[in-house]
Symmetry: C2
Subunit: 435 residues, 2 copies
């Protein structure tokens, strides 16, 4: 008989050999649930998958074929560690509405902006360094910070984004505890998962705090072009090119499967990022960069972003209308002005992780709130994504979810409490391919 570890997995003979940082790499129990949630009969409001089926596939097929015929021996070859120069120039144009002004030399193309997050953290953070993040924060960023053994401190946010006073207080508390704050990670625009957008005056205050405290701001801005009224909020980076590393992505405006994102960084940091990128992957894919560059150069990409924007606005409307109609009293949610997400607060006493198995058996899935915190908070919260399902499916999903919540409330009223699963520390978030 084979030896079994307590958790039922096969005994790992290498268990004592891993690096300390690998202790953060643990699979969550709800991962298995999400495998079930990918069945087609489940309405998934969980994954943040862009609706790439809206892309003009025939036209992309033709232009990629042309690109391969005309410049295949470039696209199929190793490339620059910093990324293709033509694409870096085009990226300046893509960012222009955010107010970010830069030089192609300031841009580093990465394998999705996730990799830029990883590289900035690798270059900046020693074990124990503190990263300040919103409460809640993007789960992929929390994974990166943990993987480099950073301490994560959450800063309160409300419908206007991260609260500057709370930021200043948290920094002071970190310093008082003898720890070293290193950077502020923020998604000011169409926040994942909170669905809110920071006001301009708060952005200015956050920047002033960072300048005063000597902290780097890591501004993650993948959703900026997806505002439902067409407005593009001015990035923090637009006001200060020395204090901010700005991250952008084509995952939501073109296609996530290409894995093309970028960082805009101050000179010295950019040099380190390129060297770190070369160590990590040698270079980003010339092939996918050429696909993006061709698309930006020859397709009406701004019109296509308008198509996405309209499509996501309709889905956001479907979500908000059905939440309004169907959710039991005591349930609250944010009203996103762009992006993919709304953040839901359940009635008092309910637990989103405990409720998830029942939701999935009722054929609706969401992401429980605890995954977006590093400190166990978020039990009463969940994230709803409206980006992928069609409006009618979203309405059906909300109907099922409302019914699950109502049942939970009844159970709570009958038995005085709802069942509460153990919340493991750390991420319970599936990979984004699970819709």
């Amino acid at each position: 008989m084979e030896a079994q570890s307590p958790k039922g997995s096969r005994l790992d003979p290498w268990i004592d050999e891993y690096a300390v940082r690998a202790q953060s790499l643990t699979a969550s129990e709800i991962r298995a649930l999400f495998a079930v949630a990918s069945r087609p009969e489940v309405v998934s409001l969980a994954g943040g998958m862009p609706f790439v089926s809206a892309l003009p596939l025939q036209s992309i097929a033709d232009s990629v074929a042309k690109m391969i015929r005309d410049q295949g021996s470039y696209a199929l070859q190793y490339g620059s560690g910093q990324g293709d120069l033509t694409l870096r120039g085009q990226i300046l144009d893509v960012m222009s509405d955010t107010g970010v002004s830069a030089h192609p030399d300031d841009v580093v193309v990465t394998t999705g902006s996730q990799m830029a997050l990883d590289l900035v953290t690798k270059v900046f953070c020693d074990p124990g360094d503190v990263v300040l993040v919103e409460a809640p924060s993007y789960v992929g960023a929390l994974s990166v910070f943990r993987s480099y053994q950073c301490d994560v401190e959450h800063v309160a946010m409300d419908d206007d984004g991260m609260i500057p006073e709370a930021l200043a207080e948290t920094i002071a508390a970190v310093r008082a505890s003898g720890r070293r704050p290193k950077m502020i990670y923020t998604v000011p625009t169409y926040h994942n998962p909170a669905g809110v957008t920071q006001t301009q005056s708060r952005r200015d205050q956050v920047l002033e705090i960072a300048q005063r405290e000597g902290l780097l701001i890591l501004e993650d801005d993948p959703y900026c072009l997806l505002g439902f009224d067409g407005a593009v909020p001015t990035a923090i980076r637009a006001r200060d090119s020395d204090q901010v590393v700005y991250l952008g992505s084509f995952s939501k405006t073109i296609a996530s499967g290409l894995r093309v994102g970028w960082a805009v960084a101050p000179h010295g940091i950019r040099e380190k990022l390129v060297l770190a990128a070369e160590a990590a992957v040698l270079c980003p894919s010339n092939f996918t960069q050429s696909v993006v560059s061709e698309y930006l150069g020859n397709e009406p990409w701004r019109e296509q972003v308008d198509v996405f924007r309209g499509l996501y606005r309709d889905r956001r409307d479907a979500l908000l209308e059905s939440l309004q109609q169907l959710m039991p009293p005591g349930t609250h949610w944010t009203v996103p002005a762009g992006g993919f997400y709304s953040w839901v607060t359940l009635p008092e006493g309910l637990d989103a992780t405990a409720m998830l198995p029942r939701a999935i058996s009722e054929l609706v899935a969401y992401v429980p709130g605890t995954g977006f915190f590093d400190n166990g908070d978020g039990a009463q919260n969940l994230r709803l994504s409206y980006c992928y399902p069609e409006p009618e499916r979203i309405r059906e999903g909300v109907r099922r979810l409302a019914s699950v919540i109502e049942t939970e409330i009844e159970i709570g009223q009958t038995f005085g409490t709802t069942n509460t699963l153990h919340h493991p520390h750390g991420s319970g978030i599936p990979t984004p391919d699970i819709a």
Copy 2:
């Protein structure tokens, strides 16, 4: 006037904020030289760029276009962190001649095998852990090990690859010094940069040492299908699936610009690698994976590898013949049976780094040997790559190089020494896009 740092670069206000590990990220002085070396009049024997122009571009264009039309909404979407299941199955077939037998679950697809190197090191090595590598070793691996603050110890090799007795002695010395050996990194087949292949009996001995000492073997095998007699040496992994993480790549058999590589790992390590990969990039590109999968499924890929193999054999022959005809006495080189490289030892007293500026002014480029060592060795060595230039250009390059070496010898005889540049510790290697 702007403040200037001693090295003439702009003063970096973040200089005191970087992580300790970022100290390894320094650009070498010879990087600037290689920018010059990329001019078309220079015969570059420096970069390890595969000759992708030999690919059937028209046919690839057609099949990629079809792939986008038929399954674009999959290829353009986020994917699995472990990689596409179909491709993982196809990878088993690609590896079959190496004797590696595995299950698709054992395979992790990465953004080039460089990323697999990075992830294995991230998961396994704490700062100060010792990695044993060949002398010389692949520069991209040394960059990774430094970026995680590993100690690197070189193990002597000869024309039959890493010497098992030297490995055992080095491990003993590391343990005696109170340090912890963690893994053995090896390129047993068509070694980069040494151009040699380890014998099967030595592979067995290295494996036995690893088993006895409890060390992981990281077997890097990107060139295995490029043996000039068509033979594929049996991988170390073929004999032990628990002791070895095996790395493979499509960069040399299909196209480096796609950035698709893989790791085959024991169960527990594979789980950690997938979680680390998700933190680093969320998932590898579904798009480039679909391109590779389509190519493997519908193109005569083995015949294309035969084309590459013949082409590289002709270039290897051109290199060896002209070295034989033209090199001054006292110059030695390895005779590669496959792969991209020959490792040259200069006559006594010559210094390959010092000689490089003169070589480039004579319009020939190579990579000096010191970059392939972590300990300052290799001054008398250089690496010649024959993969990219046409045979006639290779002959011209060797002619120029022989003339530079002869001049160096004369200078040495006249003045008793050659000029010696300062050798900065660490890599002087350009990124692979510099041919």
